[in-house]
Symmetry: C2
């Protein structure tokens, strides 16, 4: 099973691909960026186009992505993240792929053992898990993290059941 | 100038097109829907594809859309709206169109004279403004409302200036 993990933002979208047939095997990761000074629709359009290319080229079987939550302190950044997530979901939906969604704290806990793990801690565990020589950008390791978590989760019978009822 | 107004949601996206060369002239309006029981990525993908078709067919010069705000009482519905808005912005961005964004209260005030105007009040004023025989669905009249407001705003010199610096 080839899993595409995504970490979408309005300026950049991290992606990480693993093949998982019992253990995660690294395929590729990277960060899709956009012109930071451009209008939101230009940025989201550029990232959407690049994401479509990644899907066309790497042909994942499923997409894993973190849920987005409303932050009482930063409502505007939650909305910006939700916009970016909606862009990514639309691209994935058009490609006919199903999405598995995970709470950020669950991903952190599954990877680093604690729901409050820091970004660089996540990054180093991910680096070790898939055996990367150098440390990619945090957006990319976050995307790999959710892909790895989906691989583990999808191996349990309950998760397979949940996953199979997601799409008619 | 042909203006496409959008009212994106995660279940349906209202659209309304007017030609405005001094006064709004009705072209078309409607609601792009999706399978309500389907997963979010399927719904957003279906709406994105339909929106792309509307743009390809009606060839607007510019897109007008309402801002999304964080609702303290309904943070989840704000996030769902933001996701739908991100989908719409990405489709518009890929099509190479610029987006003009308006606060919902400004649209209500401009159309119905008050920022707290009810949906059916907006709908009836829009119906009268563009001379529609029957009342379309609220999502469609909301989309027409923001298109009409953009037409009026774009006629003022300040707005033209703002609009012209949006894209390099």
């Amino acid at each position: 099973m080839r899993i595409l993990g995504l970490d979408p933002g309005s300026r950049a979208c991290g992606y990480g691909v693993v093949d998982d047939d019992g253990a995660p095997r690294y395929v590729e990761c990277g960060v899709l960026t956009s012109e930071p000074a451009a209008a939101m629709e230009v940025r989201l359009g550029e990232i959407a186009r690049a994401l479509r290319e990644v899907i066309d080229e790497l042909r994942p079987d499923v997409v894993a992505i973190e849920d987005v939550f409303a932050h009482a302190q930063h409502p505007r950044s939650s909305l910006a993240l939700a916009q970016a997530r909606g862009m990514a979901l639309a691209v994935v939906g058009i490609a006919g792929l199903a999405v598995a969604s995970y709470p950020p704290a669950l991903v952190k806990k599954a990877i680093a053992g604690g729901g409050a793990a820091k970004k660089d801690q996540i990054a180093r565990v991910v680096q070790a898990l898939v055996g990367l020589a150098s440390l990619p950008r945090a957006d990319a390791t976050d995307a790999l993290a959710v892909a790895i978590v989906h691989g583990r989760t999808a191996r349990t019978p309950t998760a397979r059941l949940v996953s199979s009822v997601r799409r008619p």
